[in-house]
């Protein structure tokens, strides 16, 4: 059954789209990630215009993050104060990101920028995750405990704030900067940025692991909602119909994924996710490097 998307102006198979949302939902439920970094490139492969894929991806993330954060609020694993500080940076970053996006759209390079960002970030994150989880498996066999790292310089900055839930007393500058850079990426790549935010919170800000996911989800809701609004009002590229099918598939998949995730080992899960991320990255990189079958591209004005 085909469905005509009013904004993307293409006709796609509704079951394929629903399945895509569902599979990404299962993965996001299993691994605790938003799944935006998979949905947007997969939409490119399906022939959805990149600008629509990015903007609609942001909308889909709002749904999956709300679905996720509710569980964290129940468990009281959301640091609201840290979330708000990150959000302040995130909103500025999102506005900056949409501005860069529109500038490059006028120059005809937005497609390249989005793909490049994906290749670079999926490559880095996938690679790091793969190495780290392989190491963790070896360590768990040897029985050694993982060491925790400390970053002294973060504690030397001014504007100190107390974050009770995280048990931290640090400067507000690093969280604002983390929020800002993730906001820029979120707007350009159509992702929530959880896959960058989570390691940054643990390693850069030194937050305890149990509050990281909930806090990151909390601020992602607002940053991606803001991004959706900016894309909707400046580019007119949010496709409600596309978002709705993806969301329906995604929320159902996420619940199934959560049930699956509890039965698998954490390291194996992470290796699987890392391989998947590297696979998507590889496909995108290949498209950039090999000679395209069609050297010309049409852009309507």
């Amino acid at each position: 059954m085909q469905i005509y998307l009013p904004i993307a102006e293409v006709s796609v198979n509704v079951f394929l789209l629903f399945g895509l949302g569902g599979i990404v939902g299962v993965l996001s439920g299993m691994f605790g990630v938003g799944g935006g970094f998979l949905i947007t490139p997969l939409l490119f492969f399906m022939g959805i215009p990149p600008a629509v894929a990015v903007a609609t991806g942001a909308n889909q993330i709002v749904a999956s993050s709300i679905s996720g954060v509710l569980a964290h609020f129940k468990r009281k694993t959301v640091d609201l104060r840290m979330g708000l500080v990150l959000l302040a940076g995130g909103l500025v970053g999102a506005a900056l990101g949409v501005w860069i996006f529109n500038l490059l759209k006028e120059l005809g390079q937005v497609d390249l920028l989005v793909r490049l960002c994906y290749v670079v970030f999926l490559g880095i994150i996938g690679g790091l995750m793969f190495i780290e989880s392989v190491n963790a498996i070896f360590k768990s066999r040897k029985g050694a405990a993982p060491k925790r790292r400390h970053h002294g310089w973060v504690h030397g900055l001014p504007f100190k704030m107390r974050f009770r839930t995280s048990g931290l007393y640090i400067s507000a500058i690093p969280p604002v900067l983390v929020g800002l850079s993730v906001g820029v990426l979120a707007a350009i790549m159509g992702v929530g940025g959880g896959f960058i935010m989570v390691p940054a919170m643990i390693y850069l800000l030194g937050m305890p692991t149990k509050v990281v996911v909930g806090t990151s989800l909390f601020q992602i809701i607002f940053v991606s909602a803001f991004t959706t609004l900016l894309h909707a009002t400046t580019n007119y590229t949010v496709d409600i119909m596309l978002a709705l099918v993806l969301i329906l598939g995604g929320v159902i998949g996420a619940q199934i994924g959560t049930a699956f995730g509890t039965r698998l080992k954490a390291e194996q899960l992470r290796i699987a996710l890392a391989s998947l991320v590297l696979l998507v990255c590889g496909k995108l990189a290949l498209d950039l490097f090999i000679t395209p079958s069609e050297l010309y591209e049409l852009v309507s004005r």
Partner: protein, 253 residues
């Protein structure tokens, strides 16, 4: 008497009027609905004449359907630092979003180059490109690419010998429109030709537009983008919250 003679003389001096084409369309509206998956339009007609059928040179029919004209930028990629990037651009002033030509004979037998130029029948004639930047020497390559890309998308098509012409009088053909066509006023033209010269032309309009939910969403997104954005967020929030509430209810029985 003099007036009557003048009229007769005038009629005799207008052999082009001897044959006239009349046409009909299976539908003058194409509605883009939620399940829109392309559309076939049947174009038919007849040749009206008051004289006996002239056998030689044979009568030919050309049918065209043209979508709304719009400016397009054609980018050419080049390898820079190992990766393929959009390097050069040519602005095409106006190109139809959709263009289909169907003929009753081979193209060369249907219309002469001069008549093609005058009536803008073939695809390259339907595209208007005034100037390319100074540094681009091969601007034709960009126009050719535009045609090639759109032919692959099914938006431009040339179908020779696909018009059925019976007894040099009745004709019909079917033009298929893919699902990725744009909205607007489409123009359908029928040309009667003899020995490559256009004898008669008839034009008709086809309206292509989104209807129902598709129309409503598209209009809302353009005219009230903030409301549209908030609506999409509300749907997302409701779906996110609804799903977790629903599954919690299922789990707790």
């Amino acid at each position: 008497m003099r007036v009557l003679a003048a009229v007769l003389l005038l009629l005799a001096a207008l052999p082009a009027r001897a044959e006239e084409v009349v046409m009909g369309l299976s539908q003058s509206n194409v509605s883009i609905t939620t399940d829109f998956d392309g559309s076939d339009i049947l174009i038919f007609g007849a040749v009206k004449r008051e004289v006996a059928i002239q056998e030689e040179p044979p009568l030919q029919v050309i049918v065209t359907v043209e979508g709304p004209l719009e400016p397009v930028t054609v980018w050419r990629k080049a390898r820079k630092l190992g990766i393929w990037v959009n390097a050069e651009a040519v602005d095409v002033d106006s190109a139809p979003g959709f263009y289909a030509v169907a003929t009753s004979a081979l193209w060369a037998e249907s219309i002469s180059a001069v008549e093609d130029l005058r009536h803008k029948v073939s695809i390259p004639r339907a595209i208007r490109s005034v100037g390319a930047p100074m540094e681009i020497m091969d601007s034709e390559a960009f126009t050719e690419a535009l045609i090639r890309v759109r032919e692959r998308q099914g938006l431009y098509r040339v179908e020779e010998e696909s018009v059925e012409l019976r007894e040099s009088t009745l004709f019909d053909t079917s033009i298929s429109m893919p699902a990725n066509i744009s909205e607007g006023r489409y123009l359908s033209r029928v040309f009667l030709t003899r020995a490559g010269k256009v004898v008669s032309v008839h034009e008709s309009e086809i309206q292509v537009g989104k209807v129902g939910l598709e129309r409503w969403l598209f209009t809302l997104s353009r005219q009230m983008p903030l409301v549209y954005g908030l609506l999409s967020l509300a749907i997302a929030a409701l779906a996110g919250w609804g799903a977790s509430a629903l599954f919690r209810a299922i789990r707790s029985g």
